[in-house]
Each structure stands twice: as C-alpha cells, then as structure tokens.
Amino acid sequence: MSMAIPYTAEARPDTGLTNVKIGIWLFLASEVMLFGGLFASYIILRVGDPNWPHGAEFGLSVPIAFVNTLVLIVSSYTMVMAWTSLLRDKLSRFRLYQGMTVLCGLTFLGIKTFEYNEKFHHGHFPSEHNFLAIYFTLTGLHGLHVLGGALYNAYLLGPGSKMLKTSRQQFINRVECSGLFWHFVDLVWIFLFPVLYLL
C-alpha cells in the first residue's frame, strides 16, 4: 500500500492547485498579517509623535539601503530564472541562477550586519527611541526571513536537488514555492526601504 501524500506533484481536481501551492499562499497570507501588525505599530508611533525623526538623524544611509534594495530585486529575478531553467530542463543554468540568488541573499545580510554594527558602534540601540525600536524590529524580522529563505534556497541548490532524479515535478514545485516566499521577502523590503530610510 502506497503511503504517498496525494497532490504534491499533480494539481487537485477540485481546485486546480497542488497542496504545496495552497499551503505556501496560506502561509504568505499569515505573513501579511505579521508584517501588517508591525506596519500598523509604525503608523501609530509615527502619527503619535509630532517630532518623529528622519532616519538620517540616526545615521541610516540611503546609498547603502539603495544598494541593498537592488541586491534583493536582482535576487528575485535570478530566483524566477532558476525556476524557468528547471522548466526548460537546464540543470546547470538552474544551479547558476539559484547560486546567484543565495549569494544575493547573503550579500544583503552582510550589508545589513555592517549597518547594524555601525548603529551599535555609535550607541544607537532600540531602547534609545521609538524610531530605532521599530526600525530594528522590522528590519530584524525581515532579516530573519532573508536568512531562512537563503538557507532553504541553498538546500535546494545542494542536497535537496537529489529529488530531481526521483520526483522531478515535486522538486520544481518546491523551487517555485521557495521563490514565492523569496519574492514576498523582496516585496516587504520594497515598502520598508522608503518607510524607514526616505520618509
């Protein structure tokens, strides 16, 4: 008797979707709620403080954040290209794009670590001001998402890719869903960048 979970590789007949696709979108919906709550906190703090500071007052660097934004945007592009490479059955091309995605994720985290170190070096801690409290909370949570996504993408690039030999479609679905998560992380940063650094 087969113990395989149904609809992991083929779409369900009633919804036209695989279980994993429904699962990842449900997860992303919960992530919207998580970040939504923090964005609501930011708005309340900002509206309630007539002297809300600009990020530059705490040394937030627009050029550095600009570079980091470009890094994440490029990583989103390489992620979708990794997925289409698998659809084309081009494994070496997949490895190249997937590797670039992981590298971009790590570059983003490296730059963020540099930024954090600079803040701490100048004595800027979350306890200093509500701006810094919400800045570290939002960027810290986002950074954890980048770390998790980069680790899982690295897994799919390395040991996880063995699944290509046994269940090709299931592996492609995994890469697609990992990509959906990665693009969500990019999407969050697209809003964090102007909100924290520019406004």
Partner: protein, 98 residues
C-alpha cells in the same frame, strides 16, 4: 501557475519587470532628494512602492495567471490586513481627540 506555460514569454516579462523595479527604485530615491513637502513626498514614495510591489506580485509571483482560489484567499487576507491597519488607528485617533 499549475498549467503549461510559455517559458520564453515569461522570461521576457521577467526582464521587463527587473528593469521596471530598478527604475522604480531610482525614482524613489530621486524623489526623496527633491525634499518634497510631507503631504506630497509620502504619497509619491508609497505610490512608487505600491507600483513596484504590484509588478513583483503579478509577475514574479505570477499571480496574474493564478487559479481563482488563490485570489479568494488573498482577498480575505487583504480584508483582514486593512482591519489590522485601521482599527488601531481609529482607537488612537479617538484617544487623541479625548
């Protein structure tokens, strides 16, 4: 995207979206250096962010070609998201007024 897709066409779209996102980011930063008044600067920056985000969701996350169930799911999430954003603000505004 659970059905057969035209990979060539999608890869072309992905290149265009990449270009749009880079240009959008440059525009956001440029607008911030113009030192617009807050009443104008905030809506401009958020409008560019919403436009960029829409491209990511529609094309990179290929929502533009997704099944109906996903739209319903995200519609429900969007509804709760707006409740989450605005209910605390209404509470705050009444306490400020009082």
């Amino acid at each position: 995207m659970a059905h057969q897709i035209d990979v060539d066409a999608w890869e072309r779209k992905f290149k265009v979206v990449l270009l749009v996102l880079v240009v959008g980011t440059v525009l956001t930063v440029t607008a911030s250096y113009l030192h617009l008044p807050p009443g104008l600067g905030i809506p401009v920056a958020l409008a560019i962010a919403v436009a960029k985000g829409s491209f990511v969701v529609l094309y990179f996350m290929h929502l533009i070609d997704e099944k109906q169930l996903i739209y319903w799911l995200l519609g429900l999430a969007a509804l709760f998201f707006f409740f989450e954003l605005f209910i605390p603000m209404f509470t705050e505004s009444s306490s400020f007024g009082g």
